[in-house]
Amino acid sequence: MNREVTTVMKARTLKRHLREGSKNILRNGWMTFASVASVTTTLILVGVFLVIMLNLNEMSEKVEEDVQIRAFIDIAANQEDIDALEKEITKLSEISTIEYSSKEEELENLMSSLGADGEAMAMVNQDNPLNAAFIIKTADPMDTFDVAKKIKSFDHVSSVEYGNNVIQKLFTFNEYARYIGIGLIAALVLTAAFLISNTIKITIMARSEEIGIMKLVGATNGFIRWPFFIEGLLMGILGSIVPIILVIGGYYYLYENMKDRTFVPFFELIPFSPFVWQVSLILLGIGAFIGVWGSVMSVRKFLKV
């Protein structure tokens, strides 16, 4: 009589657990509904956030990619010097592209960027006071500052510029925004996890008496836990359906409406597919994982009867 219960489960018992787990979803109608509603709401929030944050991240990365270093070449430098400088710069491992821009190109560039002022200055064309320059991009935009500093120390470099002030500000700003975004997403997912498992915990708490009865009738912890496991999994999956539909539908709508209107250059959405499928999978994963985790953890508490 005092043998331990064997831990190998018979196939029919697994079937029984699957059946019971699914039935429980219906048996505890109201409670299940409330739990699933919690999962749904939380995941909608997570979904919306994920989409926004990932897009903003993508955008700010694009903006940063536009950041280029402009190394002005000493007027006194001859072609040999310039070639030597180019080689030296190219040796820097952080560099991705380098391009030569002549005096004339530089002036044109300046004029077009100045708009009205530029036109007014067209007349001084003959007197071009500008230097030729190398336009350099780094593989990782974060290296811009370092690289610029290094280049500045090279021979025949009269001065170095990287973006104008505003872009620089935007740059720092973006960096912060991205950290904040990642922090928020993490906080949100953790909060979602806590809230969902908390809700499930309460519904299971309400059934602690039942769990006690099951134990008295001779059920092992595993036997009791299985249906809760299935139930949690189903609740998590059920709860992620609506968020997934909303994300797919909402993003489709947004994407279709935005793709032609590139009114702000770097305000461009990540392509629909496979992005939404990835986000959907993440949501499903969070829902299922937290559903299972929440219910299994909560049951544990009541198994010590």
């Binding site: 005092n2 331990e4 219960v5 009738v217 001779g218 092992t220």
Partner: protein, 228 residues
């Protein structure tokens, strides 16, 4: 088979429900536990399937100290003991059928066997036609009979019943007692806490009387013993 050695039970609120209990019940015996309200009968019974642990002393089932069972061994102990709880302890979300079959699913019986055994036992307690009802849809006596059905469905070695006829009319009570006697005749130890003077005095068995947490009488073929 069931043995208590100088057992004392003090609940966490300081109430000493039992003390100095020394008792031995052999396999196949039929024992009434009697005594006034709050004497400690239910506590005495709960010790056997380890719903409560003794504060002092030893409870031995087949010479195993119940208090020392490992967490994993407890289900095995309980499967060998069919219990009719004083407050029934039915699972409210399950139907009558499911409540009874639960005791068999736990021991991983085959679905076919489960079906047959459950229907047989529901027939025995006259509830075959209520198999699909939830406990809340049953009368008090019907709930009690479901609890009895669940206790005997897996033919346990020991059957413990706490006031199993409290909500039953005399006729039904006698039917239940007949079932208990049959179960006992097949070799099952039966331990039954009861307030029914009629039953104890008519179906003479061993009587253990508890008062204020102490065994005050232990007679073979005793009677209820309290004046009414």
């Amino acid at each position: 088979m069931i043995e208590m050695k100088d057992v004392q039970k003090t609940y966490h609120n300081g109430v000493t429900a039992l003390q100095g209990i020394d008792i031995k019940v052999e396999q196949g015996e039929f024992v009434y536990v009697v005594g006034p309200s709050g004497a400690g009968k239910s506590t005495f019974i709960r010790l056997m399937y380890r719903e409560v642990k003794p504060t002092n002393g030893e409870v031995l089932i087949n010479n195993h100290n119940v208090a020392k069972l490992k967490e994993k061994e407890i289900p095995m102990l309980r499967r060998g003991i069919g219990v009719v709880y004083q407050d029934f302890k039915l699972l409210p979300a399950l139907t009558v059928y499911e409540n009874v079959s639960f005791a068999l699913e736990v021991i991983e019986d085959s679905p076919k066997k489960i079906r047959r055994k459950v229907m047989d036992v529901l027939d025995l307690v006259n509830l075959k036609n209520k198999a699909r009802f939830k406990p809340a849809e049953l009368s008090g006596g019907e709930q009690q009979r479901v609890a009895i059905a669940r206790a005997i469905v897996n033919s346990p070695k020991v059957m413990i019943a706490d006031e199993p006829t409290g909500n039953l009319d005399p006729d039904t009570s006698w039917e239940i007692m007949k079932i208990f006697e049959e179960v006992n005749a097949r070799g099952t130890t039966v331990i039954m806490a009861t307030h029914s003077k009629d039953i104890v005095d008519t179906l003479k068995k061993r009587v253990i009387a508890i008062e204020h947490g102490r065994v005050v009488r232990d007679e073979q073929r005793g009677d209820y013993g309290y004046e009414s």
